[in-house]
């Protein structure tokens, strides 16, 4: 118990003194997971909407695959991304293993199915007649999609939160493809693992608290957007 108070004290201290290393680690966490989430939104929402609105043979299989992907184990993603990015691997020419870019890549792979799966469900739960109605009012196909996305705003923002929450808290892939390099690819989760194994439990707890705080603040903003009065 005492240790937890120690950790809270340490977290407070690290934040108010603007400890440069902790600030750097926090910003990098935000940057990596933020960009990864943006990429996953681009791919996840567009593909998710496209699949939800189209009919093709084997759709059920595709949807079940995406739903399975929502539970992709980060370490497995990390392992495969590492093997692909090795110097002598198929994507070795990119020379991005053990860089933040590689972490973004791996995290985007983790977040995309989450966003896609929730998008699919969100669009599919809209009343099917809505599409007909919008089209009947003379909207183009693109306008129709845009209205549907706006209509599904609540669950779609939940997709953003789930995707971001999934990658900011993820450690397995980040440590494998990023290497937890000091001042370069060390993020909050990988630093927490390292400090724990070093026996610096107070710093580990402090980093954990900072991570939670940050996740809370970001979700607060997103929830605020989500729960705004809907335009009528």
């Amino acid at each position: 118990m005492e240790l937890i108070f120690e950790g809270i004290k340490k977290a407070f201290w690290l934040v108010v003194t603007f400890d440069p290393e902790v600030i750097g680690i926090t910003l990098l966490s935000l940057e990596v997971s933020g960009i990864a989430t943006l990429i996953s939104l681009l791919i996840g929402i567009s593909t998710g909407v496209a699949i939800a609105l189209s009919r093709f043979p084997g759709k059920k299989i595709v949807v079940s695959l995406i739903n399975t992907g929502m539970g992709l184990p980060p370490v497995v993603v990390g392992l495969f991304v590492t093997i692909f990015l090795w110097r002598n691997g198929p994507l070795g020419f990119l020379e991005i293993l053990y860089t933040p870019t590689a972490m973004i890549f791996a995290q985007a792979v983790i977040a995309t199915p989450i966003v896609m799966g929730i998008t699919l469900a969100a669009i599919q739960q809209l009343p099917p007649k809505l599409r007909l109605q919008i089209l009947a009012l003379g909207a183009t196909r693109l306008q129709m999609v845009w209205i549907l996305i706006k209509e599904a705003r609540l669950p779609l923002l939940a997709a953003v939160m789930a995707g971001f929450g999934g990658v900011i808290s993820e450690v397995g892939a980040s440590i494998m493809v990023g290497g937890n390099i000091k001042g370069y690819s060390r993020v909050l989760t990988t630093a927490t693992v390292m400090e724990t194994s070093r026996g610096n439990f107070d710093i580990a707890i402090a980093l954990g608290i900072i991570l939670l705080l940050m996740a809370y603040l970001i979700n607060l903003v997103l929830t605020h957007i989500q729960q705004r009065e809907r335009p009528r």
């Binding site: 681009l42 070795g92 990119l94 991005i96 053990y98 290497g179 026996g199």
Partner: protein, 281 residues
Amino acid sequence: MTPILLSFGIFTLLFFSGITPGDAQPKTIILATTTSTQDSGLLDVLLPIFEKKTGYFVKTIAVGSGQAMAMGQKGEADVLLVHSPDAEKKFMAEGYGINRRLVMHNDFIVVGPAEDPAKIKGLKSSQEAFKRVASAKALFVSRGDNSGTDAKEKTIWKASGIKTEGEKWYQQTGLGMGQTLNVAAEKKGYTLADRGTYLAMKKNLNLDILVEGDAILLNIYHVIEVNPAKWPKVNTGGAKAFSDFMVFRETQDIIKTFGVDKFGSPLFFPDAGKKEDDLGK
């Protein structure tokens, strides 16, 4: 059409994020090393000096010695700092490495709960201690991760003629030294640890040093450059600069005093230029 738009979007994002593929490559060195050099904090002291001096940027990948050498074998690291002499000799004999040089040593210790159910405290022979742990069926927590420490532990079990495979009292964590020490402390088990990591973590552990000073417990660190003849992508210049740095006189002086202020005794003893066989005499 969508994939084209998407890849365009991704590259724009990466571009504006300031993180571009292949940044600063020729000046980067990948150092694959054991967890003990990172967990003890030694590299945090040495690397900034090296980077300032040479302009290289070192990417430290802290894994067990076994994995570090596997990375070297695949050409995925430039230079290794490891402590698993038998495996290193094999690595060298197979031509994966060049210029293996002695850097430093410390020692392994057998640690366990103060109650010491197997009564091994003060024994001079680690083999005898392991035999007693086995016959008392007292819990022994092993790394089980092919690290240098793990290799040493297996050597001792083998020398004492005990088969641990499948025994209930023998548990493998598959984790690094720090975490394995935590597990041993929580479960009141015995384990083999390197002195550096143990000293660095001692304050949070209820584990005592029970056996030390046995010649077999010597823990020797070597630096090895990965052979560029096998893997042309290896950063030869960087690897050589780093391994030279590790045996420099000034570096060796830092190693000699590292940890004294914090733990009262050094964590590593510098050995550059010595012969492996002369250590511990």
